[in-house]
Amino acid sequence: MAELLQFTITGLTVGMVYALIALGFVLVWKSSGVANLALGQLVLLSSWFTYGMLVQAGLPIWAGFIVVIIFAVLLGWLIERFILRPLIAQPILSLITITLGLAYFIEGLVVFIWPASVAALPRLFPVEPFHIGPAVVSQQYLWAAIISLALFGLLSLFFRYHRMGIAMRATADDQRAVQACGIPVTRIFSRSWMFACVLAAVGGVLMSSIGGITFGLVGTGLKAFSVVILGGLDSFLGAMIAGPIIGLAENLGEGYLTPLTWPGVREVIPFIIIIIVMFVKPYGLFGEERIERI
């Protein structure tokens, strides 16, 4: 029983972080229709950058965080301005492939600058484990979940009330109408990429404060894909609900399926979920089913 509770809490909290990273994907997809397959690599890059700032440059944690956020914003701007803007109105195949190229490039860049394959961030959260009933959960998980939830709340308020947020939702709905209203669509694209990079950075820092910085962070990005597939590509709520589901499935699967199958079953559960969702309900739980006309 304690075991079950343990798996559940860990799964739910890690799932929140997946959901946070997935939100970045949904944002870009909704506003510009670009599928960002470099998500995992963005997570990896910003985690290593945080390491560079906090450990190698020795900045205090608050200053390091500000620098990381600024870096993420700049990165988002750079990516949108120089890589995706030339491809506006190109077929989806090119848009997907260019983010793959970007992913490849970032992976090389990370190896180039930080050849060590493993590193640890300094402690960001208190370490004393937390007791919930019979289960023992380390505080990092809870902090990760709280920060993710808080960011999700902030983002929903932003989209609900802020001018920019409303403009972004409008762009997601109908690009041409928005353009006709005089809203600069390219600026919206740029903003959405900045948001995505910041979310990836925060998600990366949270994940690496739990498990250290490894190449496995790319896998975190890939898990975010299974979150968006399950939740529906264009649904914020879907991502927020599907994230914990994926985290839960992964942790319960690791706990109870490993004796039945092979070790490392955790790595493929998100992918198996993807395949099942594609067969059963391809547009996800909350995704909008597109009706196409010729």
Binding site: W29, L93, L100, Y104, F105, I106, I113, I229
Partner: protein
């Protein structure tokens, strides 16, 4: 097909022929002579040529699937792994002859490809990309952990291919095997594009709903595309296994799948020459980076960062893919067409 000035078609057979003019035939025969005598004078480049030949086969398959039929697959290295392991297991553990292993490798990869291609009926674009990424990870995971059969992380050693009593041990002898299969698959791909099936693929790529309205059975043709594309991958995987003589789960990473997509983009999507250009281009860059540039720089006095050698290649490839998509999305094949047109019209450019 645009023809040189003064060439006219008088029969349908002429219209359909791939090699039309005397220049075509001369170039073809010249190329065949070069290829047949290559082992005599290419020396160390033969192993590069073999690897590029294998890559051409795989890229041709991906081009049929992605370039002609428009179904993006980011799991091509995974399907190659299926072929490589099928062939290795059949020849090593069961002692079957190499040709049986080769064909079964293709069929096995094709069938696995069909399974993962099945979602393509209902979804496309990004969804299919993710489904094929999932295929890549699931396949590699199974290979890594099914240690009784695949050897898992320890890998598997594979014997040299044997045709009847003839064992092809050297790079030179394998060059003929790989080269002839590569030529056959290019020929097959070229002709496939002109058949009913190939035209159906192109119709599906351009607009799948319109294609369905015209009476093309989407499910059937998409699965055929997946089967053919992954069949090629399986053949390439089998050849790779018997050429490298050793395979493990780390030989078929996701980055390779991305690189295959990059190759057909660089070469030119939906053209027969595209995969050839792409595979040669990437293959030569890879070889010169790892064998010439990095050692030269390392032996020079400049102090290099520690990650230089391993980080450079992915950075260069990523950059190449991005630059090609932005600057020349139709790839090298398009440049080649432009060059041919300019050559034919020279010196009168209008």
């Amino acid at each position: 097909m645009d023809l040189p000035a003064g060439t006219r078609n008088y029969t349908y057979a002429q219209d359909m022929a791939i090699f039309r003019t005397k220049t075509h035939w001369t170039l073809l025969i010249g190329l065949l002579v070069v290829l047949c005598t290559a082992p005599l004078w290419w020396g160390n480049w033969l192993s590069v040529a073999n690897l590029i030949g294998i890559t051409i086969i795989a890229a041709t398959g991906l081009n049929i699937l992605t370039g002609y039929c428009g179904q993006l697959s980011i799991g091509h290295a995974g399907f190659m792994a299926v072929g490589a392991y099928t062939s290795a297991i059949l020849t090593e553990r069961l002692g079957l002859p190499f040709p049986v292993g080769l064909i079964s490798a293709g069929v096995a990869a094709g069938l696995v490809g069909m399974i993962f291609g099945m979602p393509s009926l209902r979804v496309k674009g990004f969804y299919l990309a993710i489904a094929t990424i999932a295929a890549q990870f699931i396949i590699i995971w199974v290979i890594k952990h099914w240690t009784d059969v695949t050897g898992g992380h320890m890998g598997m050693s594979v014997s040299a291919p044997a045709l009847g009593g003839l064992v092809l041990k050297s790079n030179a002898s394998q060059f003929y095997l790989i080269g002839s299969i590569a030529v056959l698959s290019i020929f097959f791909a070229k002709n496939l594009a002109r058949t009913r099936v190939g035209r159906a693929f192109v119709a599906i790529r351009d607009n799948d709903l319109a294609a369905e309205v015209m009476g093309i059975n989407l499910f059937r043709y998409k699965l055929i595309a997946f089967f053919i594309g992954c069949f090629f991958a399986g053949i390439a995987g089998s050849l790779f296994a018997h050429w490298a003589r050793f395979i493990s789960d780390e030989f078929f990473p996701l980055t390779d799948s991305i690189l295959y997509i990059g190759m057909i983009i660089i070469g030119g999507l939906g053209t027969t020459t595209g995969p050839i250009f792409g595979a040669i281009f990437i293959g030569l860059i890879k070889h010169s980076l790892t064998h010439y540039l990095v050692p030269t720089l390392e032996s020079s006095a400049i102090a290099l960062p520690a990650g230089f050698a391993s980080g450079l290649a992915p950075m260069v490839f990523g950059l190449i893919i991005i630059l090609f998509l932005i600057l020349e999305p139709r790839g090298l094949a398009h440049r080649w067409q432009l060059f041919k047109a300019a050559y034919r019209l020279w010196p009168f450019s209008y």
